[in-house]
Point group: C2
Chain length 284, copies 2
């Protein structure tokens, strides 16, 4: 006889949660949704493939988890072993589309951000992008380029990789890039610097100060993340496209509970948070 | 007949986890310890006294939790309703000492930090403290004052409250304080600014830049937290006394599993993280 009793337990495997401050919003969103639907979420902090991962799987089996959410630290492709328990991928996706995935809509986030920038009259943006191996880097470059093309602006020479990753250690190289870009004659000098993430924008704030440029007077800065508390506390406050981590956590939990009949990809929009770093420099 | 079977479940109530980036290390430490001891931690994100709190309690009863860890957002006194399940207080304490509590040793953290500062030759510190209603503010002021007194320095006029809290919204007022303090004649001008937390130090970085002072040349800055990624990415990197959140999470979980026979207070030490913001200015 089949066992029909539901366990009401949903597993949540957070891969590398320790190194990411976005994780807390992914977790919070998932947990709030679980609660509203009378489910209990079991959280595991794992490293993919490590003993912690196998141990989590065995505990989730013991608790008869109805589904398992697998959350990645940043938007990426992952390949998980096949499992009898439904898997929902959060902030990541299966390249073969075998699992429902919840990811940020990085293309439209970037396009929306660029639309704001252009609507304010900026015409000489540069985009300091994340490492090109990052999924979001390519999608965002496309979104910004498409928005620019509609205004007759070619982003080709205006996109620069400003983050280098060596052995897991991230280095920002915006200081080198900005020194020469800002030294251009006025007709070529950037009027706005679009940063691939808020912590890079923070670095840019210091680089610009070191070079003697004032944000809001000489150049504007805008970014992605709305990372708490950095974006709010930078001076001037950082205008930034918020990543929908809380909503992604919720969506993943609802998918885990409702089991969509076929795997689907859920892309969630961002929210532009307007602070002084963009608006003040409109006439630069 | 008594039911002797163990549930192996430990509850973890995180009060206001959403607003704190320290929470993730409290959670991570507790979870790793649970795992090593074959326990399953159930995490709840709650607001004290709200329906979420009562719902967590009822779920933990349903899962027959062996003990419950209650984690606060910052070091504070809390009064929890009496319960038949053992409670461990994490980052908080019961004023009547009825529960085992795991807290940061804020007095010794501050004393240790001040010892480093004085050992490097600084003699005109100012301490930009948190709001005086915060438990840590008083303990840290004592720790710094005692270390200073041993060197014949009176911290009395050198401690300033630099954080104002109104309706839950925090405002930094370091800009007002620094403008006048830094304008003092050289023999009175601060040679090092000790900040009550890293996000305040970040604010101080911007204030000093705005006032035309360079950290490492004109004045040093040191702080508490080692908040990821801010402390590492500030320029110059921020020397700071790390709060032992991960270790506190571990200690709370071990206490939850082992049930000390009498309530005790476990105070954990910090770790000084040395970056350029302190060392560079030794001759200032």
């Amino acid at each position: 006889m089949m066992r029909l009793q539901r366990s009401d337990v949903i597993g949540f495997l957070a891969d590398g949660v320790a190194t990411s401050s976005s994780s807390i919003d992914l977790i919070r969103g998932a947990q709030d949704a679980a609660w509203e639907r009378g489910k209990q979420m079991m959280l595991f902090n794992i490293e993919q493939g490590a003993p912690s991962h196998r141990l989590a799987d065995s505990q989730l089996t013991a608790f008869r988890a109805e589904a398992v959410i697998y959350a990645a630290r940043y938007h990426q492709a992952v390949k998980l072993p096949v499992s009898s328990v439904p898997r929902i991928l959060l902030n990541c996706f299966d390249p073969e589309g075998r699992h429902t995935a919840v990811i940020p809509d990085d293309y439209s986030l970037a396009r929306g951000l660029a639309d704001v920038v252009f609507a304010r009259g900026f015409r000489r943006p540069i985009f300091l992008n994340l490492a090109s191996t990052i999924v979001a880097a390519g999608l965002r470059a496309s979104g910004i380029s498409d928005a620019a093309r509609e205004r007759g602006i070619d982003m080709g020479p205006r996109i620069h990789t400003a983050v280098e990753e060596r052995e897991g250690e991230i280095t920002f190289v915006a200081d080198r890039l900005l020194a020469s870009l800002m030294a251009e004659p006025e007709e070529n000098r950037p009027d706005v610097i679009i940063c691939g993430q808020d912590i890079l924008a923070m670095d840019v704030y210091f680089d610009l100060a070191e070079l003697g440029y004032k944000i809001g007077r000489d150049v504007s800065v805008v970014s992605f993340d709305n990372l708490e508390p950095i974006a709010r506390l930078l001076k001037p406050g950082l205008s930034t496209m918020e990543l929908p981590y809380y909503e992604m956590g919720r969506a993943a939990m609802l998918a885990a509970i409702d089991h969509p009949p076929h795997p689907e990809t859920i892309r969630l929009p961002g929210r532009f948070v307007d602070r002084a770093s963009l608006s003040m420099a409109a006439g630069a």
